[in-house]
C-alpha cells in the first residue's frame, strides 16, 4: 500500500474571514491508520464538519478501477472512508491525492457540461462527475474506461476517431443573409437546438454495438453523435447542403438498427434515435428510393446542393490525418461552400459504393 502522506497543517480561519478554511487530511487508506478528527468550525452560519468523527466501523467506499495501458492491465481496489455528497470523480481525486498519484483520469468541468469524464461505472457508460456514490448499490464500484476506444492509460481512452469523423461532415452552408439579417422562428430552431445540446461525451459512440463490437466498421460508420450532427444540419432552416447520399453511402446510416442504446446513455437526454436517426433514415429513403423524387431532381432546379457533391468531397477527405494526440496533425482539405450559391451539377446517380440501407 502507498505510504500515507504527511497530514497538512490545519489552517485556522483568520478573525473576520468570511470563508473559513477546511484543510483536508490526506490519510485514511487502510484500517491501521486512524483518521484525525477535524476541529469544528465556529463562525455562525457555517456548514458542519466535513468528516464523520472516527467511529469503530467507519463507512467506506471502494472503487474497483481498471489500471493499465495498451499492453494490458487489471482491476485494482481502492478503499477510502466515505464522505457525504460525493460523486465518483471526487473519490477518484481522493485516490489520486493519497493512494495512486498517477491514476490517469480525464476530467475538466466537474459539472456535466464538458463531456470529458466518460467512463463505464458498474458496466454502464456514465459521466463520473454526475454519478453520485449514494445512488450506486453497496459494495465495490467498478470503474473502467470506455471500451470502444483504444486505451491510452487507466481510465483515459483515445477518442480521436470522433474528431476524425467530424472532419468529414460537410459544413453548414447558408445562403447570404437577406437585408435585415436572417429570420428563423423559435419552433424552427428547436429541433436543431435539441441536437446542439450534445456535449460530445462520446458515450453514445461507445455504447453503439456497430462499432463497440465490430472494430472494422469504424471507417464506414459515423455513429450516433454524428448522426445527430447531420440531422441538425439537414434540419437547419438556412442550410443549403444535402448530405443524404453521403449518409447512405459513406456514413453507414443503414447499419443502425435502432436499438436505442445511444438514447439510453445520453447525459443530455437527447432523443438521438427517435428525433435524429429515424427522421434521417426517412429522408435518405426519400432521396434515394422515391422514383418521383428522383425524376423531380433531374428536372427541377434545386435550392440545395446536389447530394453527390457531398459524397465526392468526402472521398477526397477520407484518410486525411486530422487532430493528432500523438503528432499526427494535418489539416486536410476544407470544404467551404462557395458564395455563389450554386446548386451543383445534375448529380449522377450512378453510385458504386455498396448499398447498405
Amino acid at each position: 500500500m502507498a505510504d500515507a502522506l504527511p497530514a497538512s497543517t490545519p489552517v485556522a480561519p483568520p478573525p473576520g474571514s468570511p470563508d473559513p478554511v477546511v484543510v483536508t487530511d490526506a490519510t485514511g487508506e487502510t484500517e491501521e491508520v486512524p483518521e484525525e478528527p477535524e476541529a469544528a468550525l465556529e463562525s455562525p452560519g457555517e456548514h458542519p464538519v466535513d468528516y464523520l468523527p472516527a467511529a469503530e466501523e467507519e463507512p467506506t467506499v471502494t472503487l474497483r478501477v481498471w489500471r493499465g495501458d495498451p499492453a494490458g492491465g487489471d482491476l485494482v481496489d481502492y478503499t477510502l472512508p466515505e464522505e457525504e455528497g460525493e460523486v465518483v470523480l471526487d473519490v477518484v481525486h481522493r485516490i489520486q491525492a493519497s493512494l495512486a498519484p498517477d491514476l490517469a483520469c480525464r476530467w475538466n468541468c466537474k459539472a456535466g457540461k464538458c463531456g470529458s469524464c466518460s467512463a463505464e461505472i458498474n458496466g454502464k457508460p456514465r459521466l463520473m462527475c454526475m454519478t453520485r456514490i449514494d445512488d450506486l448499490p453497496e459494495g465495490p464500484i467498478t470503474v473502467t474506461p470506455m471500451r470502444t476506444f483504444p486505451i491510452v492509460r487507466d481510465l483515459v481512452t483515445d477518442v480521436s476517431f470522433n474528431y476524425e469523423v467530424a472532419t468529414r461532415v460537410p459544413a453548414f452552408a447558408p445562403a447570404p443573409p437577406p437585408p435585415g439579417g436572417y429570420r428563423m422562428s423559435q419552433v424552427d430552431v428547436e429541433r436543431g437546438q435539441e441536437f446542439r445540446k450534445c456535449i460530445e461525451c462520446f458515450m453514445c459512440q461507445d455504447v453503439c454495438h456497430v462499432i463497440r463490437d465490430h472494430e472494422d466498421n469504424k471507417p464506414d460508420y459515423a455513429g450516433p453523435r454524428f448522426f445527430i450532427r447531420f440531422a441538425e444540419l439537414e434540419m437547419h432552416p438556412l442550410d443549403t447542403n444535402d448530405r443524404r447520399e453521403l449518409l447512405r453511402q459513406r456514413m453507414g446510416l443503414g447499419l443502425c438498427n435502432i436499438t436505442k442504446c445511444c438514447t439510453e446513455v445520453c447525459p443530455e437526454h437527447i432523443k438521438i434515435t427517435d428525433n435524429g436517426i429515424i427522421p434521417l433514415k426517412e429522408r435518405v429513403v426519400d432521396a434515394s428510393y422515391d422514383p418521383v423524387a428522383w425524376i423531380g431532381r433531374k428536372i427541377i432546379r434545386r435550392t440545395k446542393r446536389a447530394p453527390d457533391e457531398a459524397v465526392e468531397w468526402s472521398q477526397e477527405r477520407a484518410g486525411a490525418g486530422v487532430l493528432g494526440q500523438q503528432g499526427d496533425a494535418g489539416g486536410g482539405v476544407a470544404w467551404v461552400p462557395g458564395a455563389d450559391g450554386s446548386d451543383g451539377s445534375d448529380g449522377s446517380d450512378g453510385v458504386e459504393a455498396p448499398d447498405r440501407s
Binding site: 470563508d19 457525504e84 490517469a104 454526475m130 439579417g181 496533425a329
Partner: protein, 604 residues
C-alpha cells in the same frame, strides 16, 4: 536534427476556448498557417460552462439600445478602470460578431419576429444578451470548433505548453510543450503566438473554473517579460452552489435572477434592497412591488436590486452570512420556486434544474437554492494594445480572459462571451499581420528547449520530495483564506510569505511513475503557473490600497479617486521564472477622449 518533435507555423494559438478558436479562425482566413494548441480535448475548454449569453447591442428587443449605452454600462460596471478603447471597440463590434456566429451555424433563441432574442442581465441597461437557453457557451464553442475544423486548422489537443520561447531580441518565437498522453516533448516555432488560456480559478479552493484554469498564459507572459495589469481584480460570482461539498463553487447562472429569482436571508427577507449603492440608486427599484413589476414592464419600473453588478451582490451576500443570517451550509437562499411556475422554470432554466436535481437532490421548482460567492473570473491579465491585442513583448498576443483591460475592476455578465469574439478576432488579425511582416524564420534554441524540459521532468528524478497534490491544496487554502473576497493588508503580507515558502517547496516536487498521462506530473507542471499567478494577485491586492469593483480591502473600504486613475502593472525584468521576483507599480490609465467622457455623464 533535434530528437524531439518540432513544428513551424506562422501563428500558434494557445488555448481553444472561444477566444483561441476565434483567433485561429481569423488568422487562417487571413491566409496564415495556423496551429491551435490546447491542454484539454477540442471543444471542452472552460467556455462550455458559460450560461448567460453574449452581450451585444443589436437592438432586437429594445431598439433604443446602441453601442454607446453598452460602452457606458461596461465602464460603469468596471468602475472606470477599464481601458476605454477596448470597451469602445467591444461595444461597437459585438453585434457583428454575434451575427457572424449565426452565419456559421449557431442557433440562438428567437424573438417573435424571428430575430435573435436578447435577455436582461446584471448591469446592462437594456436586455442585450443573445442566448440559447442557459447553454450559450456550449453553443459558441461548438460553432467555432466546427468552423475551425471546416477550415482545416491543425489542432494539437491534450498538449500542455510549458514555456514560451524567446529569441535573442526577447521577441517570442514559439513554445515548448509536451503531449499529455505520451509525455513526449513537442516544440513549436512561430512568428506570432497568441495566448488564449483563460482563467486562474484553480488557485482558489472554491471556484467555478475547470481543471485547466491554472493561469498558464498569465504566468508564461510574465516569464517572457510581458506586462500584466489589474491582477488584484478577481471576480467572485455571487451565486455558486454551496452544498454538497462536491459541487461547492459551481455556478448558478445570473439568468435565474433575470428570470424572476430573488435572494433571501434565513429570515426570508429580500436583503438586496438594503444594499443599493448610490451609483445605481436612480435606476434600481426601491420596493419589492416595483421590482416585481419590472420583469414584465421595463419601461415604467426600475430593475430589481437582485440584478446589481456582481461585486455588489457578492459583498452583500458575504455580509449577510457573516452577520449570521445565512443558510445552514454557509450561503444565502436563491428562491425562484415561490415566484414562477414549475413549467416556466424547467423551460427557461433546464440545466439549472438538471444540475441541482442530479447533484444535490434539490428540486428548484419546489425549494430555494443555497448559494454563495465563488471565484469566477479574472479581470486582470496581459496588458495589450486595444486594436491588435499585442502584448508588451513583440511576437506575443493575448485575447479573452487572459488579456487585461477590457473589464476594469469588475466584469458584467455576458461581456465575456462577446469579449472572446471581438478580441479573439482582433488578436488573430493582429498576429496574422505581425507574422506576415516579421523578417526571417523563428528558430527554437535547443538549449532553451532542453532547459525547459529538464526542469519539467526533474520531478521524476527526486525521491521522496513534495507531493504536487499537497502543494496545490495548501496554495488553494492560502488564497481562499488570505486573498479572498475581503482582503486586508496583514493577511496579504502573510499570504506573500506563505507563497514564498510554497515556491521553495515547489522546487522539490517529486512524482513517481512514467510520463504518459500522469496526473501528478501534469499537476507538477501546472504548479509553477499557479504560484506565479497567485503571487501577482496577492501583490496587486496589497498595492491597490482602496476598494474598487471586485477588489475589496477591509482596511481601505472606500474607492480612492487617485487610484482610480492608475493601473497596477506587474512585470519581471532581468530574472524570469516562477521563483524570480515580480515588480509592481502604478501607471496612469490611458486618457479617455472627451466625447466618451461626456457619454458617461449622461443618464440613459
Amino acid at each position: 536534427m533535434p530528437d524531439y518533435e518540432q513544428h513551424r507555423y506562422d501563428v500558434i494559438v494557445i488555448g481553444a476556448g472561444g477566444a483561441g478558436l476565434r483567433a485561429a479562425i481569423e488568422a487562417k482566413l487571413q491566409g496564415r498557417s495556423v496551429a491551435l494548441v490546447c491542454k484539454s480535448l477540442l471543444g471542452k475548454a472552460h467556455t462550455v460552462m458559460a450560461e448567460g449569453g453574449v452581450a451585444a447591442a443589436m437592438g432586437n428587443v429594445y431598439p433604443e439600445d446602441n453601442w454607446r449605452v453598452h460602452f457606458r454600462d461596461t465602464m460603469r460596471g468596471g468602475k472606470y478602470l477599464n481601458h476605454w478603447r477596448m470597451a469602445e471597440l467591444h461595444a461597437q463590434e459585438a453585434p457583428d460578431r454575434v451575427y457572424e456566429l449565426e452565419a456559421w451555424g449557431a442557433l440562438f433563441d428567437r424573438t417573435k419576429d424571428g430575430r435573435i432574442t436578447q435577455r436582461d442581465f446584471g448591469g446592462h441597461r437594456y436586455a442585450r444578451l443573445a442566448h440559447v437557453g442557459d447553454r450559450t457557451g456550449l453553443e459558441m464553442i461548438r460553432t467555432l470548433q466546427q468552423k475551425a475544423v471546416s477550415l482545416g486548422i491543425d489542432v494539437f489537443m491534450e498538449c500542455k505548453v510549458l514555456r514560451l520561447l524567446t529569441d535573442a531580441d526577447g521577441a517570442v518565437s514559439g513554445a515548448v510543450c509536451y503531449w499529455r498522453p505520451s509525455g513526449e516533448t513537442v516544440v513549436f516555432e512561430a512568428k506570432a503566438t497568441v495566448l488564449a488560456t483563460g482563467s486562474i480559478g484553480r488557485s482558489y479552493l472554491y471556484t467555478s473554473n475547470s481543471w485547466e484554469s491554472t493561469g498558464d498564459g498569465h504566468a508564461m507572459a510574465i516569464w517572457a517579460g510581458a506586462d500584466v495589469i489589474e491582477m488584484e481584480c478577481v471576480q467572485f460570482h455571487p451565486t455558486g452552489m454551496v452544498w454538497p461539498l462536491s459541487v461547492r463553487g459551481l455556478l448558478v447562472t445570473e439568468g435565474v435572477r433575470g428570470d424572476g429569482g430573488t435572494l433571501k436571508n434565513n429570515e426570508g427577507h429580500r436583503f438586496m434592497f438594503d444594499y443599493i449603492p448610490e451609483m445605481f440608486r436612480a435606476e434600481t427599484a426601491e420596493s419589492e412591488e416595483e421590482a416585481d413589476a419590472w420583469y414584465d414592464d421595463h419601461a415604467n419600473h426600475r430593475r430589481t436590486p437582485d440584478l446589481l453588478p456582481r461585486d455588489e451582490v457578492a459583498r452583500a451576500i458575504n455580509t449577510e452570512v457573516k452577520a449570521g443570517r445565512g443558510t445552514p451550509h454557509g450561503g444565502v437562499y436563491l428562491d425562484i420556486a415561490s415566484r414562477r411556475s414549475p413549467e416556466y422554470i424547467r423551460r427557461r432554466l433546464p440545466s439549472m434544474y438538471h444540475q441541482f436535481m442530479e447533484l444535490a437532490g434539490v428540486d428548484i421548482t419546489a425549494e430555494a437554492m443555497e448559494v454563495g460567492p465563488t471565484c469566477h473570473y479574472m479581470m486582470g491579465g496581459v496588458r495589450v494594445n486595444p486594436e491588435t491585442q499585442e502584448a508588451t513583448v513583440p511576437g506575443l498576443f493575448a485575447a479573452g480572459e487572459v488579456a487585461g483591460g477590457m473589464h476594469g475592476a469588475n466584469r458584467l455578465g455576458g461581456n465575456s462571451l462577446s469579449d472572446l469574439l471581438v478580441f479573439g478576432r482582433r488578436a488573430g488579425l493582429g498576429a496574422s499581420e505581425f507574422a506576415e511582416a516579421r523578417a526571417g524564420e523563428p528558430v527554437a534554441d535547443p538549449a532553451q528547449v532542453d532547459a525547459v524540459v529538464a526542469d519539467a521532468v526533474g520531478a521524476f528524478e527526486r525521491d521522496g520530495g513534495e507531493s504536487p497534490y499537497e502543494l496545490h491544496h495548501e496554495l488553494q487554502t492560502t488564497m481562499q483564506s488570505l486573498v479572498g473576497i475581503i482582503r486586508t493588508g496583514s493577511e496579504l503580507e502573510e499570504a506573500l510569505e506563505r507563497l514564498s515558502e510554497l515556491r521553495e517547496r515547489a522546487e522539490k516536487m517529486a512524482v513517481s511513475g512514467g510520463r504518459a498521462y500522469n496526473p501528478a506530473w501534469n499537476l507538477a507542471t501546472d504548479i509553477p503557473s499557479l504560484l506565479t499567478v497567485s503571487t501577482a494577485i496577492a501583490q496587486g491586492a496589497l498595492a491597490r490600497r482602496e476598494s474598487r469593483g471586485a477588489h475589496t480591502r477591509d482596511d481601505y473600504p472606500l474607492p480612492d479617486p487617485e487610484l482610480g486613475k492608475v493601473n497596477f502593472v506587474q512585470r519581471q525584468t532581468a530574472e524570469r521564472g516562477f521563483t524570480a521576483p515580480i515588480h509592481v507599480g502604478p501607471e496612469p490609465l490611458p486618457e479617455m477622449p472627451q466625447e466618451l467622457r461626456d457619454l458617461l455623464e449622461e443618464n440613459a
